[in-house]
Assembly symmetry: none
Homo-oligomer: 130 residues x 4
């Protein structure tokens, strides 16, 4: 698994880590039962404060994405969605609406927004049939 963070943008470091782990799982690069790097190792690799990696892993554990195995580090757990379908949609809509508001102010049109959205999704590595 390749993780790289970018201090330039506005996305928190811990969030970049959680997102990339989730993406790697969604893309099949990480399978259930695979180990992820230790907090210290990853922190050294991507040049980030270990507290930040620890926070990211803690969130992934809380969401049931990873689980800690005594003495053997962190493993990819069986994926489960903690939210109900309706709750997931509600949260998705809320996130989309914020982006739409920004797009409206910037005078983008519907087709442009959808096209750009698809480009960003592809860039981030979400496959069409993941």
């Amino acid at each position: 698994m390749q993780i790289q963070v970018n201090t330039g943008g506005n996305v928190p470091l811990y969030r970049q880590i959680t997102d990339q782990v989730r993406q790697a799982i969604a893309a099949g690069q990480l399978q259930v039962g695979d180990a992820v790097p230790s907090v210290r190792q990853l922190a050294k690799d991507i040049v980030v404060n270990p507290n930040t990696v620890a926070k990211a892993y803690a969130e992934l554990v809380r969401d049931g994405v990873l689980e800690s195995q005594q003495g053997r580090g962190m493993l990819v757990s069986a994926r489960k969605n903690v939210y109900t379908k309706a709750e997931r949609l509600r949260r998705l809509d809320q996130a989309l609406d914020v982006a739409i508001s920004e797009a409206i102010t910037l005078h983008f049109e519907m087709d442009e927004i959808l096209q750009r959205m698809q480009q960003r999704l592809e860039k981030v590595g979400l496959s069409r049939t993941s």
Copy 2:
């Protein structure tokens, strides 16, 4: 114009206000030259501190969405496309990436995200060929 805010979520109050004003303009509920509620009036209506409304309005003024008439309130401005093409894209991408990050966390797939995005765009009143 109906504005309502939600203290529970993680979207800042001032951001909810700017978003809703922007959407009301995009949907045609607010036209160029229309007045928006006064800072104090809106603050009372939605039970928020006047400073928070003032902050939201100030941002809309900076972005050319509203303009302030000294001593007489705020109205919807005719200014458009204040930002360069590159800056508009940079801001759009940033907004989309935040939404995508949330969608990833929620385990949505690309097709679902795009489809939902289109639905939300239509809901907000953006026509396909606006």
Copy 3:
């Protein structure tokens, strides 16, 4: 970078701060990537409320002059020319008109104003062919 504010005049404190940061950048005293003093530190140094410094910095971020690195402070951004040509001219004209209005009140004549303007531009370190 030396910042000093003056409570006596009619220029808002936050405006004095943004102006001086901008001038320091224009004069080369602050380079792209340099850190600016933290909100709390600068507030203490110039004896101003931290909120006022935060407001000044927020404006500079919106204009692409500074960028915020979450949890680690603010630095001088590389972003440039965020606004369209028309918007840049609109803002320049507005700023010039305010100065002209003041000059008229003070009974200055055109040649004096232009000559003085050139002197101030040179003082601030703007070269003729920058």
Copy 4:
């Protein structure tokens, strides 16, 4: 004397009035001893609240530009500069520096700024040898 005000911009109405009276005097359209329109008359002509005109005239009286003659309205007084030369320059410099800061942020160069300044001065009717 032709006075017209513009509610669109950011310049206060009362300031637009004082500036235009001062300009008319500087341009010789109003001579020492000439009468200016009454507060009520001017308020009706330019469609502005009489309080606003009264405030403008009060400032002009305070600065020695106009004087009130019992029963005969307001006259143009003998022009005098209430500030010392050094004080006038200090205030001019302060006004110019604010405009320069804005110009710097907008990435204008010295020649552009000076050229634009001259255009705005001409537009406002300040002659070269007033």
